[in-house]
Point group: C2
Chain length 426, copies 2
Amino acid sequence: MLETTSAPTTILDLTQMGKNARAASYALAKATTAQKRTALFKIADALDANAESILAANQLDLDEGRINGLSAALLDRLDLQNRLGGIANDVRHVAQLPDPVGAVFDENVLENGLKVSKRRTPLGVLGVIYEARPNVTVDVAALALATGNAVILRGGKETFRSNMALIQVLRGALAESGFPQEAVQYIESTDRRYVAEMLKLHQYIDMIIPRGGNALHNFCRENSTIPVITGGIGICHLYVDETAKLDDALAIIHNAKTQRPSVCNALDTLLVNKQIAAEFLPRVTAHLGKDGVTFRAEPRAYEILRNDAQVQTAGDEDFDIEWLSLILGLKVVDDLDEAIAHIRQHSTQHSDGILTQNMDDANRFLDEVDSAVVYVNASTRFTDGSALGLGAEVAISTQKLHARGPMALEALMTYKWIIIGEGHIR
Amino acid sequence: MLETTSAPTTILDLTQMGKNARAASYALAKATTAQKRTALFKIADALDANAESILAANQLDLDEGRINGLSAALLDRLDLQNRLGGIANDVRHVAQLPDPVGAVFDENVLENGLKVSKRRTPLGVLGVIYEARPNVTVDVAALALATGNAVILRGGKETFRSNMALIQVLRGALAESGFPQEAVQYIESTDRRYVAEMLKLHQYIDMIIPRGGNALHNFCRENSTIPVITGGIGICHLYVDETAKLDDALAIIHNAKTQRPSVCNALDTLLVNKQIAAEFLPRVTAHLGKDGVTFRAEPRAYEILRNDAQVQTAGDEDFDIEWLSLILGLKVVDDLDEAIAHIRQHSTQHSDGILTQNMDDANRFLDEVDSAVVYVNASTRFTDGSALGLGAEVAISTQKLHARGPMALEALMTYKWIIIGEGHIR
């Protein structure tokens, strides 16, 4: 399937896909909550019913991935074999979330009698570009349908067969539910020029959500004429000051670094106040080192830890890397000012925290660190839609417009102003 | 002044300007409401006190503009001679608006005891690119200061001297109020390459607001790596159905077209239901024609109006033009469906309305026309921050993310998530 549909001779008409998506979006915007729920349950059931063919396609992707020498982490991401039932259940969960479409707010009658309000409406058409996770195909389609948006998807080449199998099932269920199949479209080619073309379809696509690494985000930012929600890249910091409860701090640091090191809200850099550095840093390396963490220490921290085999000296560039692995940067700072200055310089404005018992310093940190999520005395791992009770997570935004931090269904909505007069003129 | 500062040898370091703006933004974000108000009143007073030098600079711009053959409309836009007092008073008005910084919302204590809330914070650094209106220099600087944002401005070459004089006064007043002068920076060159360079400073600028024509908006959309708020381009429609009160309709159409034809919320195209077209269209051309309006009519409308000297036949492209002048497109449609289809195809999603007594059709129009502001029985001219009681207007957004329609102070804000734990781990 990969060979035929992505062969160089395949010519896709993305403008036509955009027009079809826009047309579908008008139908979706009118759909009732009940219609959308019915379709979502039908999708979930169809995923269960077609598990065999989906998993067979996925197995081909996995086999090819192994032949091509994909890393174990990448193979894990693209493996659906024990996950498909969970993915279908996630769709059933989305089906039961409150429908955000149509909520009315900021109602007002002006002095001249004009009735003014705002009404929440779907954005229209979403464009989602992602890499090796085929579950995103289903997650995003379900979230788009739940919010009345059409979507154009472009997944990674490693999961092309899995995605094609999933899309076929999704579109079948949509058609059976009376929705246009163009509500969910997939760019059936792994040719990268279609990504560039997709990013210029501002007439037809309202928002681009890249889900992948830095290179993908940069490519979208640099080439898109459509608003892009960048995010999901976290260089996350914790600052431990001289008043922190050190046992708690150790547990938080351990959790933030090791509970799931491959994700964006995992800890990358630990800043320690100089007054406690000599006592606390060796406890950190001992406690986390047991679980395989290695360390990159700037000179003052290295001075304290030089006899520890798991500690290397850090270069300047080490504080600008999202590790996504069991590596932790270590730095000694003089005070809160230096900690804030370091974070301002190196953070990706994702998740940064302070561990302290000094509430004045905590408040200064909350005021002055300009990140999507700022913490006091908690692990950065909570930056997550489900951990924060959002019900669903579309992405984690580190840019500042529209939506910041974990994005729920509302982030896929816009609003329109509704103005009702009785012959009003200005 | 123009000659020396914008000479090709002038080399500006925009990256350094970006860094300075970012540094200033940290100071601005911490400023109290009282400090910001004091500075705003000082700016207003300084504008009054320095009126003579500002108006002298403006006179030079006007003189050069006349020599260069600028249109009367353009000369009017850049003329400050009778407006400076009003501009200063607008700054005093902004000083008295509620401070949006720091508002806390979505407070919640999770089951695990984690305290979660969101806090409204300034975006950081705004980039504003505008054309011939020097009042924008002061308006935007005041709005930025009121919302705790730094700003980098780039005005048109026609008003370079006026802008330089205004900036000098603004920055003097900022310094006297204890704010960093870098809170308001101006790109002191009319070389367009600096616009392109500015649009790539995503590390230092959080939002680009273009204020000008289509070409400027397209340039920003195509070249910016920073989120751009496009807008201010209105191809606005009114649809008159067979149940409309025709006297009211005539007054609304007259107001929407003629009250201020050069602005974005003025009417561009009138759609008339076929059942009333033969009766109503001649009334429209007679009533508006008295005030100098001319018409572009598609075949069915032209058929009715062919003996009217002020009516020409419309080409297809005439329905994709924002007239900004006393020209009105006319089209007969069969029904609401055709009206909605026409608007979907030709509208810039700015302001579109229906004139009807049929509330079912009104509701369908409100549901199905996806524009920033949708109207029933009122003039499109109300799409305006002050007309809608917003207190201030930053711009009118026709894109769908972050802010749609008239943008008030809140559109210059983002939020951060604040999470307070007591040693919480996941």
